[in-house]
């Protein structure tokens, strides 16, 4: 939070890597900081977009050419640096693009979803018949 904003903490928040105390502090900051909320939304959107990209195969011989050994002169050495940087960037894209979208396990939070439905439906529907059931605890089974 070098700039007074969450910065890298946002990644940890999205990845669920923060401790409960850190997460609470981050969420409290988000509640009052539109800049960080926008950053969080943008980061999440970019991640979703990247994860939905299709796998891409490297051109034939790409890695071999990248890794081939030559004794470089000055110009060759500069070309090598550029190539290495380009290769790193390509590798990063490949890593992100080739990786299959993570199939994270999901457990629907049934009680929360019911509350979300009842409250939203009550705005345009009859408030008594839609919100009264929300006052009843949700429990299933015998």
């Amino acid at each position: 939070m070098s700039s007074g904003h969450l910065d890298d903490v946002l990644s940890g928040l999205l990845d669920g890597e923060l401790s409960p105390a850190e997460e609470a502090a981050a969420l409290a900051h988000l509640a009052g900081c539109p800049v960080c909320r926008a950053e969080l939304d943008a980061t999440r959107a970019v991640r979703l977009a990247v994860r939905s990209l299709p796998p891409v195969d490297a051109p034939f011989g790409f890695y071999e050419r990248l890794l081939s050994h030559r004794r470089p002169g000055w110009h060759d050495r500069r070309r090598s640096v550029v190539a290495a940087l380009a290769g790193s960037a390509a590798a990063a894209v490949l890593f992100l693009g080739v990786s299959p979208p993570p199939q994270q396990p999901v457990t629907p939070q049934v009680a929360s979803l019911i509350e979300a439905h009842a409250t939203s439906a009550s705005v345009t529907g009859d408030v008594l018949s839609t919100l009264t059931p929300a006052g009843v605890p949700v429990s299933f089974g015998p």
């Binding site: 969420l27 999901v106 409250t119 705005v123 408030v127 008594l128």
Partner: protein
């Protein structure tokens, strides 16, 4: 399970209201509906009446859960559009359309003011609505609205003849048996029952944000989309056919079946295995398709919800074409910009 947290208070209120005798007339008086086929939407009238009428009462919630019938009670207080529902959970509706739910010591804002959704479609386009004079309900005269489809009674509403306040609502299955009921056991219309909406104390984690969508669309059987909202990684699509509401929640990932609640009944949703549960306000169906977990929550009969759920469009499959994925990715990127 009963409204244990507020059980003593509810019982005390029942006693006090029962001792006070029949309810007095309220401040808002509407002309009684004439018998015959109704042209106005009684649920619209009931919603307006709830926002204009001050009252205090106890509502019974009764629903069929498998072979059992379960009953709960919730106290409702209303004044100038603020309504407080007190059962095991406390829910508040503010005049500004805010909806708050109490969890522990905090009040979570589950619906902010000004978020929408779009107006519901006209129930008369799909259902036949007939009205007649009804019996007394909780000491108040009522007008009955029978809402039918294909000559089969689906819902019966009792609205207070004077104010149009909803006194009871009952749903019937294909055999004409009652499957769900919400109605006052006792109610008193009072001019002053001070209700002060609480301030939300929770951070914004559960506050939905609207997701802009280009076109109006819907599901089969007349369900029109009223809005699309996002809470964290959960997307909610809200639909209505004018009488019933249906939310379809989407979460990317793989359904962890071992963590589903007990008591689910297996159902088929367009070739996918799903699980159905009865909740106090209706039915809920959970299923997974193409890497997305869907949860449909609604107050319609199970058959209607399954029919609508089978028409929910599936997301692109993991092996979709490059252009399909690129299109989906671009749409995802554009969404936050439009907020």
């Amino acid at each position: 399970v009963s409204a244990r947290g507020a059980g003593a208070a509810v019982l005390a209120l029942v006693g006090a209201l029962a001792a006070s005798g029949p309810a007095a007339a309220g401040p808002v008086v509407r002309p009684a509906q004439a018998g015959g086929t109704a042209t106005a939407d009684p649920l619209d009238d009931a919603r307006r009446a709830a926002a204009e009428t001050s009252f205090v009462g106890v509502m019974q919630v009764r629903w069929r859960d498998g072979s059992r019938t379960r009953v709960e009670r919730v106290t409702v207080r209303a004044e100038r559009g603020s309504l407080v529902f007190t059962g095991a959970t406390q829910v508040v509706a503010a005049p500004t359309s805010e909806r708050l739910v109490q969890h522990g010591r905090s009040w979570d804002l589950l619906w902010p003011a000004g978020l929408g959704p779009d107006p519901r479609p006209d129930a008369g386009a799909k259902y036949r609505i007939a009205s007649r004079e009804g019996a007394m309900v909780a000491g108040l005269p009522s007008t009955v609205y029978d809402i039918s489809r294909h000559d089969r009674l689906r819902e019966r509403l009792h609205l207070h003849t004077g104010t149009s306040l909803l006194l009871s609502r009952e749903q019937f299955d294909d055999r004409g048996e009652s499957v769900r009921y919400v109605g006052f056991e006792v109610v008193t219309l009072v001019p002053d029952a001070p209700v002060v909406p609480p301030k939300p104390t929770d951070h914004e984690r559960r506050v939905p944000r609207a997701v802009p969508v280009a076109a109006v669309d819907g599901l089969v059987d007349g369900y029109q989309r009223l809005g699309v909202y996002r809470r964290s990684d959960v997307v909610q699509r809200l639909y209505s056919d004018g009488l019933y509401d249906l939310s379809v929640f989407e979460q990317r990932g793989r359904l962890r079946r071992d963590d589903l609640p007990d008591g689910g009944e297996q159902v088929d949703v367009a070739g996918s295995r799903g699980w159905r549960y009865a909740w106090p306000g209706g039915n809920l169906v959970i299923w997974e398709a193409r890497g997305t977990v869907f949860t449909a929550v609604g107050d319609a009969p199970l058959g209607d919800i399954l029919l609508a759920a089978r028409s929910v469009p599936s997301p692109p499959a993991p092996d979709a074409s490059f252009w399909d994925k690129l299109r989906a990715a671009c749409a995802t990127l554009v969404q936050p910009v439009g907020r």
